[in-house]
Symmetry: C2
Subunit: 650 residues, 2 copies
């Protein structure tokens, strides 16, 4: 999609001061780099297409002008459904179920349709429709095309999907709309603007937390069609999970209601901006969880209940806007805050002295000595300056790596992985909110209370805390792994490591953020985001130096994660969509992958250093519940002064 | 001496923007202030003279031109001493004692003199000499005048101190000098330049750590004259204690050798710049530890061993220079480093908004609600702007203060007070080096290794640590008191407290240092220091806002510390001695106390806020071993932006 090539412009002002994100191997005779080596570029493993389309393009639902609004008679329509629906008592019970529901107004009806009709639909779909696997930062799913155009299909097509045609007519019929509108109190629903899709969630498929708010949507529904006659067990996954809001626009990180879907069951909820957050739990087993999912929209011109201007007003409250809301920034943890180095430290780093014996001694307690040899450091810098990215395999020395690996595996195998945010204990915190990210992290500060009051306290009233991993590691009841991760984080904040960083990158860091992270199977991810647009302060480049210490112990066997099947990879894309420039959290690429700049699978003991432009989108893919372990890493960002700026200053 | 008045010029550029340090009571109808109220000034309790003279003024030793170098014959001189001194075997044993001594070359001789001569000296001194109590930041002692002029006294005077006259002649005789020079290998000693004084260390007297290096001194000696015939017990105190150097110029905080002095015993050591650190332990009981103390200087012109230019070279290595040495700065802990607030936080504080309900709620968990009432805040600010100092009694609310008091008293009564630096455990550290300061503190960072290697690591190689009291309070094995002090320190670093500070002072803080401190009886003090000269960064005033939360639990009874007898008070002086402007750690005032600006005795639950000029000297007086408990406080410093600067910025 447009853009001038797949690589990042680094320093747009300067023709020769940078290239783009690539990956290169310095000192390859030393075998320090990974083996996927080609033309001096390594480890840029382009992954399968990773574009996220928003669930439906804004206003993309087709306005389906049905020639004969009553193609079926009212009694025919009613016959398509379970007859209990038309019983007043049933409707009244359903109404009270919806009105007392939590965490927001939703409801479900079992045995919704005539079962034979739905079995026919299922057979038609499975035999006639081609599904395409789609995967982005927010979902992995097999999707059919939009079904709204079914009536526009030619006879052949119609004849091959007659039951589905009936189903669609039934769902969008006045009878069903009136019933569902009545029990949900959501207001009038359009019969003209239909908006459905058929999805199959197979093993590994999932859809992360979102609120469905786009355009003129008024009511969401999902009609489930797993294998009829067999109970869909909770252990299969694929549940619909609803998230309460901490405050409007901010979902809680843990769901509070969960629906395990059965054949012929429908779930529905009113689309409420900033409230109706839900996700689809990953399907854990090799089973097909087919569903027909769609929206009722607000009435269109000419329909009963049409209100002029209502559509525009509804559309204005879009997810895009919410993602930039004040609430989201306040409830965004960890915050993208880098702590400034002291002026004295920056001055020392600007001298760009080679490493002293004492510094080398300290660094060698952690790092592979190959990365401390002046010749190798020079080669690494040359590569980094050319490519803006470099991967250093075996970054920690064998002894340190061995102890670290043993500790991480012990934690994974012998201790319970926290399953809810309440299970996450100091020094760990849970990254929130879940429509943007969820993962465990250590940031070297004290525990947060994620209630509305707690967040206000942390943001504006209480102690202003600076990260201190050294003190954190002295806290009570820390595990060996916790202490090791704090130790490495402290090491990264050492003067010696910063000097080493100057040697490798040629850049002088001036501030940092260091986070030890754990992405748990079945829980964790970061959706695509850019950095803030204006990174440069005085004398600084408008770029971030970023490092990921990849410390996933299960990746010591290189095959475990290589396929990408279990997610957990870190992916960078060029964000060339002008219209989205103001939106840091959503991208909409094309269907090609020309804008993927870098994919880093889970790795063991590998450091990836990159220089990131503010336009680059980065995400960490949701880790499958079936992954062999968590993705572990330490993620770092630094503001930097460059060569030119430093020289100007001197 | 001199200077334009006893008060600090606050903002020298601006005529009306400040006054000086005084103490004032705002809102006195609320009885929030202490009771020593006079003319709107309270609690400025001027203490007894607190000038420190350096132990001898540079080059002040008199050149005593003895008309008859041999007033006594050699055999007469020898008769004044114990005859063992002239025995070659004794001298050889003494020589090997000195050469193998630790922590530096020193020695001692028991029964030095003819005992009757020394008893006569003692009787003369006690009957004829007037002692003056002298107290500064570094000592409390009763001193006689310099005795070097004795031979110049008229007959009456000589006749009244004949034994002392003999003693002086004996000490500076060629015979004794040759002997002592021989066993110490210190080089030739002057017989012309004599330099002695008589001191009485009574109960409470002490002399803190120093290296005696001033001018042309070559050998220090102390001849002890406590009551003859009675053993001076270790429990009486008053021992000579010698400190090893961590590196040259930096004494270890704990002594490694200790001499309990007996009548007619002499101790001596070569004056070695940066090495010969020693102190005089406080005398614990009501006993008189009389001593004659002095120096042998390098040979003067005309004397054997005179080397042209040696005196100047020796003088150049003075204590004053050492105190500013690189080593001292590196080994200075805690370092005078204030951590910058985020630009966003400074921006918020510059708005100078009144306290919100949420902020007030949080503040009231700690503070006395009287100090949160807008009217009182206004009055406090008016006072502070007028006087540059304000004391807030009962700063914490009754409930919080009660719990805190109970916890502190429990710690004092039920747990062992650390006696050496090794006894001091996380989260506490020991302030060093001891020729500048010694006290326990919590700074919210991890433990320091005070070895040469450890200090280099902390300063230049290892993790760069920012204070975090919230995390510190979560460390293992913290006492309730430790946690409370961390809690208050965190509170002081809260956004709400900073906003409150703006309300009280009218100033906007931009960086802070917060230290919880404990000054233990018999151990702790801070010698007088100024701040760095240039405090102001962009938009800032060249002043520090300082706060002391006085939290000494034994001061809840106001009489306990009021006399100043037990030390522990914080004292500010105007440093008007131009010649010392480059020296941050030594002051030499006159004998009057005209330059004392503020004395704050140990108090309970009182906050003192002051605006400090870079010329102001501040110290915390050594806490007597007989004090009823430790001085406890939390000490804070902030860089500040003032009203004018803030307005310019807007």
């Amino acid at each position: 999609m447009g853009g001038s090539g797949g690589y990042i412009r680094l320093v747009s002002q300067s023709e020769n001061s940078g290239a783009g994100i690539g990956a290169a191997c310095a000192g390859s005779p030393n075998h320090l780099c990974s083996s996927t080596h080609r033309n001096g570029l390594i480890a840029v493993v382009r992954h399968q297409t990773m574009k996220r389309k928003t669930d439906s393009e804004n206003g993309s639902a087709k306005r389906n002008h049905v020639d004969k609004p009553a193609e079926y008679t009212s009694s025919e329509i009613k016959e398509f459904f379970n007859q209990k629906l038309w019983d007043e008592k049933f409707q009244s019970q359903l109404e009270s179920q919806v009105s007392s529901s939590q965490p927001y107004r939703w409801g479900t009806i079992t045995d919704l349709m005539d079962p034979q009709l739905l079995k026919n639909v299922r057979n038609e779909v499975l035999s006639e429709i081609a599904f395409t696997k789609k995967e982005t930062d927010i979902y992995k799913v097999f999707q059919s095309g939009d079904l709204a155009n079914l009536s526009g299909l030619n006879w052949d097509d119609l004849s091959r999907l007659p039951s589905l045609y009936k189903l669609r007519a039934a769902i969008y019929s006045e009878e069903f709309r009136d019933m569902i509108s009545g029990v949900t109190k959501c207001g009038k629903l359009s019969g003209l603007k239909t908006d459905m899709s058929i999805n199959t969630y197979n093993k590994g498929c999932h859809l992360l937390t979102h609120d469905d708010v786009i355009g003129s949507r008024r009511l969401s529904f999902i009609l489930y069609l797993p294998e009829p006659g067999k109970k869909w067990k909770p252990s299969y996954g694929g549940a619909l999970r609803l998230f309460p809001a901490v405050v409007p626009n901010v979902p809680h990180t843990d769901y509070s209601a969960k629906l395990v879907p059965q054949f012929n069951q429908i779930a529905f909820f009113t689309v409420q901006p900033g409230l109706s957050f839900h996700d689809v739990e990953e399907v854990r087993e090799d089973r097909q969880r087919l569903s027909i999912q769609g929206w009722f929209h607000i009435p269109q011109p000419g329909e009963p209940g049409y209100v002029k201007g209502e559509q525009e007003a509804t559309e204005a409250r879009s997810t895009l806007q919410q993602l930039q809301s004040k609430e989201l920034q306040e409830y965004d943890f960890p915050k993208p805050v880098r702590n400034d180095f002291s002026p004295l430290e920056v001055e020392t780093l600007l001298e760009k002295k080679t490493l002293s014996a004492d510094e080398t001694e300290y660094l060698s307690k952690f790092l592979n000595v190959e990365y401390l040899k002046p010749g190798n450091l020079e080669r690494l810098q040359t590569t980094f300056l050319d490519e803006s990215i470099v991967e250093l395999t075996n970054i920690f020395n064998a002894e340190y790596a061995k102890v670290l690996h043993r500790s991480l595996r012990h934690t994974e195998l012998e201790t319970d992985t926290p399953q809810t945010s309440k299970d996450i204990q100091f020094p760990w915190k849970c990254a929130v909110p879940p429509h943007k990210q969820r993962y465990m992290y250590i940031d070297g500060t004290s525990t947060l209370d994620m209630s509305e009051k707690g967040v206000k306290f942390a943001n504006a009233i209480g102690p202003s805390e600076a990260p201190n991993f050294s003190v954190t590691s002295q806290a009570h009841q820390l595990s060996d792994t916790d202490r090791k991760l704090c130790e490495i984080s402290s090491f990264i904040k050492s003067r010696a490591f910063r000097k080493w960083l100057v040697q490798v990158t040629g850049l002088v860091p001036t501030s940092d953020q260091v986070l030890a992270r754990r992405f748990r199977p079945g829980h964790d991810f970061i959706l695509a985001t850019t950095t803030e647009k204006d990174l440069a302060r005085e004398n600084e480049l408008n770029l971030l130096l970023e490092a990921t210490f990849n410390l996933t112990p299960t990746a010591a066997n290189s095959k475990t994660w290589a396929s990408g099947e279990f997610g957990g990879y870190e992916l960078c894309m060029h964000n060339d969509d002008e219209q989205d420039e103001d939106d840091p959290a959503i991208y909409r690429g094309g269907n090609d992958d020309s804008s993927v700049l870098y994919t880093g699978q889970c790795q063991w003991n590998t450091l990836c250093l990159m220089l990131r432009d503010p336009t680059v989108l980065k995400f960490v893919k949701y880790v499958s519940v079936n992954a062999k372990g968590s993705r572990w890493d330490i993620s770092c960002q630094w503001n930097v002064q460059g060569e030119e700026e430093a020289e100007e200053e001197n």
